[in-house]
Symmetry: C2
Subunit: 212 residues, 2 copies
Amino acid sequence: MKTNKVSEAVIRRLPRYYRYLVQLAQQGDERISSSELSAIMGLNASQIRQDFNCFGGFGQQGYGYHVKSLLREIAAILTLDHTHPAIIVGAGNIGQALMYFEGFEKQGFDFRALFDVNPELVGKRIRGREIFHVDRLESYIRDNEIEIGVIAARRSAAQALADRMVSAGIKGIWNFAPLDVQSSVPVENVHLSDSLFVLAFKLSNMEAGEEQ
Amino acid sequence: MKTNKVSEAVIRRLPRYYRYLVQLAQQGDERISSSELSAIMGLNASQIRQDFNCFGGFGQQGYGYHVKSLLREIAAILTLDHTHPAIIVGAGNIGQALMYFEGFEKQGFDFRALFDVNPELVGKRIRGREIFHVDRLESYIRDNEIEIGVIAARRSAAQALADRMVSAGIKGIWNFAPLDVQSSVPVENVHLSDSLFVLAFKLSNMEAGEEQ
């Protein structure tokens, strides 16, 4: 699939399409018009058509979209139709929470092991997956062809961990440490506090009853 | 401050400005030009000036921005200069991880209590904060003038919990359950999996060595 030229903005909308389509499919909706889809997504219909055209387009004139087919197509574009072996570095609360997070496994993300330096954690299991000492990070990645490395460690350790994972052949990094790590492979830096700050701003600046 | 008309896009950039300025201040940088700021933020300089003008503007022609003053101004706009009493509903892994998350407290978010239905959790303490039975949710919110309610509960419980918190006077909702809750107060729905899916897309669609 020629998707290298798809813009960052389109890529970032794909998971949202996926989420809404999952919801429609669960409700038993069989098809949806681009105007209905645009209403629930808060995007205009021509934007949606343009987005889908980046991947060859999925709709039929006058029919709209077949929910299950569209869902399958978008899942395939997001590569949720195959397995992504992953590991988590940092077996503290965030690492453990991610192991228990609803749905990742169903969507093909297979968190196979955790790594930590804490001797009280090493050797234990979380949801059946072992916590190894971080000394074994590189060999585990190599031996198990791990694709995704999750950083759930301290800020001060994050960049060095990213570098080590990349040197061992990791393909992408999902970083929860509160600084942006730099890497030659794709990185998603998650800043949970951003949405909390937006919320704080809104609740202090929006009058009661004001439309959002 | 008249900030009601600030656009959603500007509001969503504020936490990023804040993060970068914290980093600059920690490095000991005293001032920064709008072009330097634009380079590290990946925004163009006129965008940054426009954003700041929404709040009265903070720069001086030819001088750029004084890092500490700008940081203080943006922290004040984000209302990080005062305390936001908050509670967490759901004392499982996500709720507990949020209690331990680096920095929220320093930035004024005071998670005072957790709530759960699980009798094995009720009565325990996380970081010194008690887990109450969810029956006490409304009275606790009222008696303690809680501003922010965090939903770290199951998908099926999320909307009902949001409704209960709003009826008890909560001002904003930070939702981690994997569905968008609707409310008359500001809501931030966090979808952790969105960034994971974007990562999966990128690592499958970007050639090795390709510029991101």
